[in-house]
Symmetry: C2
Subunit: 332 residues, 2 copies
């Protein structure tokens, strides 16, 4: 029986899954962020290889029995990152040479077995793609936290921090985000105004920039606060703009939405789809939690397995049902 | 005769000057960026100590003869950065223990010998201060490229890059900034659309984030382009907001403007002052190129010298007249 290993390396977590040709999930494991740009190449590679090893162990499958190894990484990975991953996976005993795929395509394939359609990802980063004949033929944004990822968790989290700092600094309006950010960063109650702004700044600069994405949730939790609502509305407009940029009148198909921010934020999702529709009917979207099922779909396709509605349904159900192998205790 | 050494560590360049109690500049030298946050602490310290050594050599003054060493660094420097600088300067033979001062106050003191007023800095970063009795009593922004520095060269440069990428990606309007950025980064003519966006992204991520400030000039050069004009107008509004945040009805005095972006950009400066004035009369501003004169003023004050109009005028004229000791050839 054909067995494949698929790894979805996201900005926040990396998930590996071992599945067979009937779409049965034999083992699954999770590790920390596996995006080489946001987490650094070494930490990203360790998360990826660690999750692969753990999923194989959970499945009780020997590395040599794996027919296809498919890795979904941001931008399908740089050549040097691909080489480093290939070397480390080979050292783990995997004899199949890894195939690299777009993490965005994996998200699309997590939501549908159909060959045409769109995916919109709003997680730590943000991007939209158009898929035709099972291939990713157009992409918008996904250009990283410094220059792109408009409407992403990073972008929302950065705006949360900026709004709170402007409030404390006398440059911007009062907002509930300030209280929320102070609480989150444990700024003492007797530290006020400019001193609080400087304490928050020191705390946030001590972490990787991409960790600002963790603050996005404060904007959603503060719904009703005008500053928070404006941040979310602007993000929704940005995400709709990315989706519009890849839309072709000739291509109909499902809109798959994924990424932590979009999959968990119903209000944001509704705002995005409403902005996207403009004067037209607001479309339905297929919501996926991550790209795990999609990486398995792509791995099976590479193994020559036809992923029809039945296999896709089995895959979706069994990946959801299988308990994830917990990461080892201590720092990941 | 009292001789002092003053160093102004900016994001783009670091300038050291040796002056006497009559405001005569005896030697001056320049090195690369000396901001520990944007350039990294090691490179920043090397620029600072290198410029100090070179200025003393140019002046023909022995380190042991220096009465006061005053260093103006962003936020007056972290404790660990201060300790590292003190150790390195002592190793250079300086017996006077360094005094640390705000780079923002140094900018103010470069423009006036009066004790009260305001400074607005728009360079790689951006900040505004209020000065009373020669002391910096209020500050707005200056919170760094990731979380603050609204309206700074970094902020403008980042918007230039984002606008060009949105254009190439189909997410934003066509803009002259795209052509300008392609030319600046040597993107080949046959690389178009999304491929050009990815080439630009790779090129810009290969440098430190703060180097995006170098792209600000593209926005000014593209004056007349609606996208470029909107970026500059938004920066002007942000800078005016910072200045308003520190304005007190009780404190009248000159507005000193400095930093590369504001001192060189007449149109931006006018837009900032117009936005600041609102319905009122547009104020005059004293434009300074950098904080070199101001660090010398602060150093002389620490040495017990009264910097009156005469000494201040002598200092300004002699610093401007003295040729800068060139940095050594090769990488700095």
């Amino acid at each position: 029986m054909t067995v494949v290993l698929a790894v979805d390396a996201g900005g926040t977590s990396t998930r590996a899954v071992v599945v067979d040709a009937d779409g049965r999930c034999l083992g699954i494991a999770r590790r920390g962020g596996g995006n080489p740009i946001s987490s650094g190449p070494e930490i990203a590679a360790a998360a990826l290889v660690g999750s692969a090893d753990a999923a194989l162990a959970a499945a009780g499958v020997s590395p040599g029995a794996v027919a296809v190894v498919l890795l979904a990484v941001a931008g399908a990975g740089s050549p040097s990152h691909r080489d480093a991953l290939t070397e480390r996976l080979t050292a783990s005993g995997l004899t199949a040479r890894p195939v690299f795929a777009s993490d965005l395509l994996a998200t699309f394939c997590s939501g549908t077995h159909l060959p045409d359609g769109y995916a919109l990802i709003g997680g730590t980063g943000a991007a939209a793609i158009r898929v035709e004949g099972g291939r990713q033929v157009a992409v918008a944004d996904g250009l990283g936290w410094l220059l792109g990822d408009e409407g992403s968790g990073f972008a929302i989290g950065r705006e949360v921090a900026r709004a709170a700092l402007a409030d404390l600094d006398g440059r911007g309006p009062a907002t509930a985000l300030t209280t929320a950010l102070r609480a989150r960063l444990d700024v003492p109650a007797d530290v006020a105004g400019r001193q609080a702004a400087e304490a928050i700044t020191r705390s946030l600069y001590a972490a990787l920039p991409v960790r600002l994405a963790d603050l996005a949730v404060l904007a959603f939790d503060a719904a009703g606060d005008p500053v928070a609502d404006a941040i979310v509305a602007s993000a929704a407009e940005d995400l709709a703009t990315a989706l519009r940029a890849v839309t072709s009148a000739d291509v109909a198909g499902p809109i798959v939405v994924g990424g932590g921010v979009l999959s968990q934020g119903r209000a944001l999702r509704h705002a995005v789809l409403t902005a996207y529709a403009g004067q037209g009917d607001v479309p339905e979207a297929v919501v996926v939690r991550d790209g795990t099922v999609g990486t398995a779909v792509l791995a099976l396709c590479h193994a020559g397995v036809t992923v029809d509605e039945r296999v896709f349904a089995a895959l979706t159900a069994s990946v959801a049902a299988e308990p994830e192998a917990a990461p080892p205790a201590g720092p990941r």
